[in-house]
Amino acid sequence: MILTFWFLFSRALALDVVCTLPYLADTAKRVAPSANVVSLARGTDDPHFLSPTPALMAQVAKADLFVENGLGLELWSERLLDSAGNPQVRPGQNGYVKATTGVPVLEVPADVSRARGDLHAEGNPHVWTDPLNMKIVADNIATGLGRVDPSNAAVYTQNAAAYKKKIDEALFGADLVGYMGGDLLSRLAAAGTLDTTLAKKRLTARLGGWLAKGAPLKGKPVVFYHQSWPYFIARFGVKVVGYVEDRPGIPPTAAHRDQLLGLMSAQGASVIAVTNYNNDRVPRLLGEATGAKVVTVPGDVGGVSGATDYFSFIDGIIAALL
């Protein structure tokens, strides 16, 4: 009886955290395990396009905290926030978090025009495929949670720190993190000097985690479908042969196909990577023409059945591309 009351009471008290994307919800759950965390998009959805349903609006209406990726990715979130009628979670308010604040953004265009397809004006928003960026995301979410629930702010900071350590250990291996510290390693990785520093200090063999597992990806020629992978590519040193989509959202031309086929055979591309929500028909035709293997990579947590959290998500991408 008491337990039931306690349960109802705690449910009523629990924070409602509404995230736009599954990877954000996964992070929010780590930072605030006791909160009710939901993701509006599923891992199988294309994050650019989601039809806002009344159910989604109801989620946002009762949210204490709204977390989005931003950078122009969720074209649907503005309409959702307008219709939900929850002033607390509007941009600029305490209940709003743009999770990518402070993330170094790639591919910021010098000038913006529609001529190059649905180019993102603020740079490429698909930041979460680089595990290093997740540490900034976790901090941003913790800060937002601390704003709407100040009494537990210290707990959120602590949980975020634990999560960031887990990310470091998953990326560099627990051994090397114990030896050099995650902060230094992250700094070296962000500056692009990790490999040379480790080689100079004869520590290359102690590198573990995703970077060790993904070492064969360095310089490996891969064709991607959509330009949503620059952060993963930069972190793991994958060599991009080209994109199946010539310009995002515009059908590929014959010239583009021939150019791509030429590049693929010249550079020996053996893998064509298609994000789970993209159509794999054209990639399969390219695969048949060149003998390259077509693999499905998850675009987000939950994109493929094995990707149940952020860690298995990155595991899945690396395994597919190897």
């Binding site: 959805d45 950078l71 709003y96 114990g178 510290g181 700094r187 031309t253 159509n279």
Partner: protein
Amino acid sequence: MSWMLLPVLACAVIVLTLGWFGLHVLQRGVIFVDLALAQIAALGTTWAVFLGHEPDSPAAFVLALAFTLAGATAFAAARVFDRQVPQEALIGIAYAVSAAAGILMIHFAEDAHGGEKLEHLLVGNIVWVQFTDLALLTATCGAVGLLHLAFRERFLQISFRPAEARAEGRRVGLWDVLFYASFGTALTSIVSVSGVILVFSYLVIPAVIARLHVDGVVGRLVAAWLVGLGVSVAGVAVSYTHPTGPVIVVFFGIALLVALIIAFLRESPSPGRAAGQVLLAAATMVGGLWLSYELPAEHDGHGHETHDHPAPLNQPDPGLTVSPTPPGTAAAADAAEAPSGTSAAPEAGGAPPGTATALPDAAAREAAARAATTPEELTLLSESILTEQDSSVRLVMAVILLRAGHRRGLDALLTLVRDDLPFVRMEADALLRKLAGRRAPTWDPLAGPDTGAWAAWAETIEGVPIGARELEVP
């Protein structure tokens, strides 16, 4: 030019098939029947995907065909209500409902490829046509063509003279079913190759042009075929670096415009005046185009940006995000503003209060330390090293202070040999060894740096050790 071969052959098969059907469809006034049937076929494929089949499996094809035949039967039956409800209304309804049902089905299936699959059923790309696609297309359209060749008189009669057919006691209903079913079968294979917009253009535009200029069924059929083939070859040839389907459709539009102008001149009672009107209209259009092309070019950039990209409201100040400059240069720029260990991370302007960004922070502090050269900067550095949290940054600071002759660098190294991080301990020990030379304590790999011995050695040194200036910054 070999890349043109398969697309042009596919276009030829499509032209021959749809040219014939186009005449029928125009005569019957069911212009949008192709869209409806294509959507119904897509619904069949979606149903197959919902049941767990692959979209290009035989099971999916059979289901698509079954749905199409059911739709065809329904359209044939709809002719019965022609007096109360125009057939085109029911066709439009069928289009809308099957499109909506397809979206719902995808929604319930929680399918990984979801909308993309449905979209692809209707958006083919003629450039990517493969030999097997072409073979299947030719076989299907060939079979349908043979059927229509064999019963051409009957099909023409029920489309063009239904009253006469009824008077002769023909089973019009049955022939209608056969007509829509064969049309639907051909469409199912054409749409997957070319996409629905192209199908609509191929079906209607050649037939419209033929009707404008030619009399008699045979003449019109030949004219439609010639127009279709000409536009296809021109469209494919020009489109190497442009999306092929849209180019063909636009070419069809231009062909129709030309055909309309010629018909207008011919029908007009005074050809001279009509030609003047056409010229005036053309001049107005060209002038308008020229103006619209010229105007934004004067202030390029601004106009485009504000017009195409209204600043999204859900974004805080764009300045919040770090630009993609390499961390080194970004930090160096920050260093000029924040010479000491203060946070150089981008701050949230009026938007949500400051967000912790541990990564750029420490990197910026390290870069600031590396950039310190003037006495003032070095004095600041010797103060900030006392509060620096990150031991690897402290290590860099210590060496820079030592190189500049600051004793505090040595003090920092003496604490760093006791640091929590093994790497920092080792680095500090190695640096001290370079300074101490032969006076360094013996190295015990199990115990690590001998902090007591180092402290004792440091006591014997005044100021900074000789050789501190030659130390390499880690």
